[in-house]
């Protein structure tokens, strides 16, 4: 018998060598208690959370929690059914109404996760004779959506407008074209030149899908994302988003003005062949989305946090993913996985949690310590965070 697990031997070896060096496993952390969107207890120790994507800190909002509890009481713990059978409750419709109001668009479709939203929409829209042109640094859910469908897949260099245009022009006459972009790229926290890219896509007859998972609630005047901030949201055909970041629960969605959009509910397999979100989840999501419409002050504070952390880390001598803060993600570039893991462990000892990101999830085989800020991080906490980076950085030799 061939052991089907043999193919994972290199990963097993890499993991064992890391743990043998006495390193805490960066991918096996348990949150024992969660006190707030910014503080949890890990290994019995009070830990500041700086790697949660909980950008707007909605997870403990009293209105959000009350809505969830009420839905749990009134509608039960789960729907036990697909959206197209017994799994659409008034709460799912209310959640879709909240999204339509939030984005000022005509249609909204809620999926069970953000991953499934990309998987479903991308694989369903682009058929066998069609072309998907996507940024090389696209999220795994976008690549998996491509893999699930039958279209021709053409990647182009990250954020390279010219490379996108050249590839669009080489697509045979008469083929359908879908350009897939992200507002914020989650590894380095950089944003896309959407204005230029969407113009190029439109000039070449392509439809455009933008994943705004890491910008919703925060970027743009109304928190609609990078497409809003760059003034071209009306030219985007489909926006994909998630409830598991700024919204503070779990779920995914697609919003659009396309007149035939609703038919996707019948033809999109990752929407049809899975159970819908529990009533409590859609109730918390709808409440959170409506509150995010009126959160300009929190958005301003989050920008302040992002700018201060970026400037402070750079001053300490760390190499960062972007020259200027472009989002609520600040990526600290580590020289290699060993140093990155040591620095991650040292920060945890100091009482700070960040994400350790490593290949193949990262561009150019980089090891990153990815920090994502929250609108509820106080000024004092950002000061504490910088102190912890200074101590851990010196202890591990990352900085002088």
């Amino acid at each position: 018998m061939i052991d089907l697990f043999s193919k994972f031997d290199p990963v097993i070896a890499l993991r064992e060598s890391l743990l043998d060096s006495g390193q805490t496993d960066p991918f096996n952390l348990v949150m024992e208690k969660v006190e707030s969107p910014t503080v949890a207890i890990c290994n019995g120790k009070r830990t500041i959370l700086l790697g949660t994507y909980n950008y707007m800190g909605m997870t403990f909002d009293p209105d959000v929690i009350a809505a969830g509890k009420q839905a749990l009481d009134e509608f039960g713990s789960g729907t036990t059914g697909s959206r197209v059978l017994n799994g659409t409750y008034v709460g799912h419709r209310a959640c879709e109404e909240a999204l339509k109001d939030f984005y000022a668009l005509d249609h909204a479709m809620v999926f069970s996760t953000g991953y499934q939203a990309n998987l479903g929409v991308i694989s369903t829209l682009a058929g066998k004779e069609d072309y998907i042109v996507l940024d090389i640094d696209s999220h795994a859910s976008i690549y998996d959506g491509c893999a699930l469908g039958n279209a021709q897949i053409v990647p182009f260099r990250h954020n390279d407008i010219d490379a996108l245009e050249k590839r669009l022009k080489r697509i045979p006459e008469g083929a359908g074209k879908l350009v897939v972009l992200e507002g914020v790229y989650s590894m380095l926290g950089d944003i896309a030149p959407l204005k230029e890219m969407v113009a190029v896509a439109k000039a070449n007859g392509a439809m455009v899908l933008v994943d705004e998972a890491h910008s919703m609630g925060f970027i743009g005047e109304h928190g609609r994302g990078v497409a809003e901030a760059q003034g071209i949201i009306d030219d985007v055909d489909f926006i994909i988003g998630t409830f598991s970041k700024s919204v503070g629960t779990v779920g995914g969605f697609c919003v659009s003005n396309h007149p035939k959009f609703e038919i996707l509910r019948l033809v999109c397999r990752p929407y049809v062949f899975t159970a819908s979100l529990p009533p409590s989840v859609v109730a918390t999501a709808a409440t959170s989305i409506r509150k995010l419409m009126h959160s300009a002050d929190k958005r301003a504070h989050l920008w302040e946090n992002s700018k201060r952390l970026h400037a402070g880390l750079r001053q300490l001598g760390f190499t960062l993913g972007t020259d200027e803060p472009q989002s609520a993600i600040i990526a600290v570039i580590m020289p290699d996985l060993e140093t990155g893991a040591a620095m991650w462990g040292a920060l945890l000892n100091e009482g700070l949690y960040v994400n350790l990101a490593r290949p193949p999830a990262t561009p150019a085989n980089m090891t990153l310590l990815r920090c994502s800020l929250c609108a509820l991080h106080s000024e004092e906490q950002v000061g504490e965070i910088l102190g912890m980076f200074a101590a851990a950085g010196r202890a591990t030799g990352c900085i002088d």
């Binding site: 053409v154 260099r157 050249k166 590839r167 080489r170 193949p360």
Partner: protein
């Protein structure tokens, strides 16, 4: 030189900057096993080849191309 020979020569030239192990490349050389390219290197190399020959090599086509010779053949068909 025939068209195919020219394409082969150009392809060899474009492989060199990515040939970190400095191995001798022939038509039978495999990108993954012999050159030991990871998926990111492949994407970079393909982008360069696409621009040089003004063609599209979709990821679907890449999955069918294992050796240098197969790439040269595919380029011949794409340019035709």
């Amino acid at each position: 030189m025939s068209d195919r020979q020219q394409t082969y020569a150009k392809t060899l030239e474009m492989i060199e900057p990515f040939n970190k192990k400095g191995i001798a490349v022939s038509e039978a050389t495999r990108f993954a096993q012999d050159l030991e390219w990871d998926s990111l290197t492949v994407l970079d190399f393909v982008a360069n080849v696409e621009d040089e020959f003004d063609v599209l090599i979709s990821m679907n086509m890449q999955a069918e191309i294992e050796t240098v010779g197969q790439l040269v053949d595919a380029l011949g068909q794409l340019k035709a």
